[in-house]
Symmetry: C2
Subunit: 387 residues, 2 copies
Amino acid sequence: MNDTTAQAINSASPHSDNQGVGRMRRQSSAADGQRRATVTDVARLAGVSTATVSRVLNRNYPVATATRERVEEAMRELGYVVNAHARALAGVSGRTVGIIVSEVIDPFYAYIARGVEREAALGDRLCLVCCTQGDPQRELAFIELMHERRADAVIVVGGSFADRSYTTELARRARELDAGGSKLVLCGRPPLDEPAPTASVEYDNEGGAFAITDHLLAQGHERILYLGGPPALSTTRERLAGHRRALELRGIARDPELEQLGSFSRAFGRRRMAELLKEGPEFTAVFAANDIVAAGAAQALEEAGVRVPQDMSLVGYDDIPVAQELRPRLTTVHIPLEEMGRQAVRLAVSGGDEDDWREQTTGAVRLGTHIVVRDSVAAPSKHARRV
Amino acid sequence: MNDTTAQAINSASPHSDNQGVGRMRRQSSAADGQRRATVTDVARLAGVSTATVSRVLNRNYPVATATRERVEEAMRELGYVVNAHARALAGVSGRTVGIIVSEVIDPFYAYIARGVEREAALGDRLCLVCCTQGDPQRELAFIELMHERRADAVIVVGGSFADRSYTTELARRARELDAGGSKLVLCGRPPLDEPAPTASVEYDNEGGAFAITDHLLAQGHERILYLGGPPALSTTRERLAGHRRALELRGIARDPELEQLGSFSRAFGRRRMAELLKEGPEFTAVFAANDIVAAGAAQALEEAGVRVPQDMSLVGYDDIPVAQELRPRLTTVHIPLEEMGRQAVRLAVSGGDEDDWREQTTGAVRLGTHIVVRDSVAAPSKHARRV
DNA sequence: CCATCCATAGAACGCGTTTACTGTCCGGAG
DNA sequence: CTCCGGACAGTAAACGCGTTCTATGGATGG
């Protein structure tokens, strides 16, 4: 389809008359857009050369005021808009950064995307956003597409899958990107095991999980259900690791039955919670893998008539807005999401400026997390809930 | 800043040695990216011409299988990635659509963005996303930036301001864009009063407001507070218009005190609601300008000990996820947000295919809205709430 | 053996940017 | 009152990289 379109559009133009700058085209179809004005047109109208027009455009070289004004007037008159493609082709940065998330409507990603967008805007850059819907293949494809567009940075956000061939492929892309002067930034995911020229922005995922589990333990909970999160995702693994470490440190044996992984969806949280309430192991607190799952669990709890926090404590992770909307308000782990997005851009973009000492190609920052105590946690009730 | 950066990057590369294809560059800095492979390189390595390589790339012309394989092998070996800029410059569509919203983390916009992104992806297009944070100037600037990048479509989303000079400027941009073969799409906002080549996707905003107000009236409410929404925004005006029409139709006089406009924020909803509860007019129901404002109002109500829906009915608008998270679950107006995004892309992109009958340049679709009844509305309590 | 069709090559083109270079005009030196 | 160095303005032309039109060599078919 690309082809046919492109052909149809182009085959109709270049034929006879080579040097005429396009007189003929103009009178073709009625409402049809007459050829876009070019630097040459502006130059001609202003009575200067194209180089001068370019200088006016870029203000990077002194141009007499009178000349500048004449050129600007000509641009206005012709409705001239520079062609970013031509400019990029000539070697100027395309001023674009790409961000790849799994889902834009998920607040976790949306906040990071906001940080990326804002930071990008500060540097007069535009932001290419893609959603993989959780498909690693699509992620790879998008990286390729962004590479084709010569994005200054390609930021992949969110947990990654522990799939060898995928990792290898990603490393390859990172090298290709780097060879072209772009940078692959891993945001909210662990670095590649294979060495590759990437930058990375992480948050203390394990630490946050440790802290909030410990918060639960400090209240006296000993049977804590860990609920949700795709098992193969790095995000899940890290959170679970922090959770386990906290248990271990207090000398509490780990019960596999209390680790109910699954997905990050609200539906999962609700369904599995309901099931476990009916016929699951005993527990007095729930550590939902993220706030969305917590929202689902909260609903199941409500429907089952289990009061939070009196009968059951509940915590989440991410501290997205829904955490404050739930009743009781959810105790959770805060992640500086927007800041992560900003850092991701800074890392990639500043790195691009000083191309002398490329040694620091592999920048990395790690941001802290902290728990936010609200109303969803209390000490376990005297008589442990019996199913 | 734009300029200095661009200069710094470029002034350092092209110097002596003009025809050598870059021998020198290679040995410059250690990790430095050696010049990217080009079609010419691939052609040379595969022993064919650049035309053939291009054909292999675009599969738009028969190429002998053996040749194709040789070319593909060469591309792989060199880590070749086409340059989208060069390609776009040569006349092929850049396969990019732009969307401009005021805020990505706002679910209203996020859902539309998702629709745009998905539909764009179906056509192998990438999506440029920008946030104006409500600033019309920034909106104009982003349109310009997208125009420079020759986006197939530029979709501006959300209510617009009733500012004459802004509208004029927008119309001008629409014409420039159209002249270049792109399209400006107005999504979720009324068409420009000034004639301009735009496409538009609307939703029945007035009708939704009418319906939900009527729903309240049918329950017996007569004193309904309309809360929130920027007065100058078209979205607010339309919703208010629907609200008023419903009142009128039931013969209920309009009370200016019951129209408390402001903003679309949660903070506004909460603050103003609290104020009105303390010292405002009498009313038995609240029509929040959108769900976010409703969430704020719900909190104020909760804090004031006013029960919903027993003591006070509450409805919102947009039907974003928070509506289902509130307790009681919020009765609201559903908008097919994602579908709007999809339609916006379709309108702009299909329109671009058949450039023969440009008459239909100004496409427009209007999607329906409907109310979603949940638990936040009840008949007014016998004894009207007295402050 | 010529008419065709196919695969491929050569070259023009699209549009800014930038370098190398020319022509001007200034002030100060001689 | 010239003459020279240098700051300034501005220009022609090369360049970046795919795409596609036109042309050509060769093979197949009649």
